[in-house]
Amino acid sequence: MKPIALDRLWLALLAATAVTWLLGEAGWVDAAHAWPVLLVFGLALAKGLIIALDFLELRHAPAVWRRFIVGWLVVTLGAILTLHFAA
């Protein structure tokens, strides 16, 4: 991946973090608000995918490791959300 692409991804990661921070500051990421919770964890998934596929370059790696890391992200975040909404 070209450096400029890495730079843009970094800025996108910071922007996603800023959105999470703002929603948290507003007190919206709790049991009373579903969509902010889904958005925050959707952003966490997106950030994780960028780190895994682009920074860690799993996009070009053997499928087994790409599937493991992506699967770990999906299962872990999914379990967290399931427990949150089931509570």
């Binding site: 890495l6 970094w10 999470t20 948290g24 780190i51 860690l56 089931a86």
Partner: protein
């Protein structure tokens, strides 16, 4: 290294889910505990680790292209991000200890210190590894033909960042 990364991620994954389960069972206790955490510090630390990942990725790219000096600088920058994270986390812990809370205070704090403390140790290890790579870069002649060591070090760092990407919203942001 991939086996290490795999085991670490499985361990942290279980801890993350255990935290979420414990919170669902004691929402009031976890709400009180999380209310004592500083979201700004958590967000700042997230930005630090993400910036570290960017630096590390740029460093590997430079080393592969044979730009040794640039590769070393980027890798040193990644290590510096980790070092600042360690400093910030240490201040956060000091504040906690000063109020008298610790690992055995209650369920929330047990999980908080286990999760973040375990992660803290991984960041420290990653900083040492990155510093070693940055120091060795001018001495080892890494390039397109051989960038295995920098790539392996980068993989460990990115794992540490990946774990925090889940930890931050789970512990600092999401409320029951």
């Amino acid at each position: 290294m991939w086996l290490v990364i795999g085991m670490e991620m499985m361990t942290f994954g279980l801890l993350f889910v255990a935290f979420a389960l414990a919170r669902s069972r004691e929402p009031a206790l976890f709400a009180r505990g999380q209310a004592t955490l500083d979201l700004h510090t958590g967000a700042f630390n997230t930005a630090l680790l993400l910036t570290g990942s960017w630096c590390v990725a740029r460093g590997v790219h430079a080393l592969r292209a044979g730009r040794v000096a640039a590769g070393a600088r980027w890798t040193w920058a990644g290590a510096a991000c980790g070092l600042v994270f360690i400093g910030t986390k240490s201040v956060e812990y000091a504040g906690k200890f000063a109020t008298g809370v610790g690992l055995s205070t209650d369920t929330f704090h047990t999980f908080y210190f286990l999760l973040t403390g375990f992660h803290f140790l991984h960041v420290a290890a990653a900083v040492v590894i990155l510093a070693a790579i940055a120091w060795l870069a001018p001495r080892r002649g890494w390039g397109a033909h051989d960038a295995h060591a920098p790539e392996t070090a980068a993989a460990f760092w990115h794992m540490v960042d990946l774990l925090w990407v889940v930890l931050f919203p789970l512990v600092y942001v999401l409320r029951g």
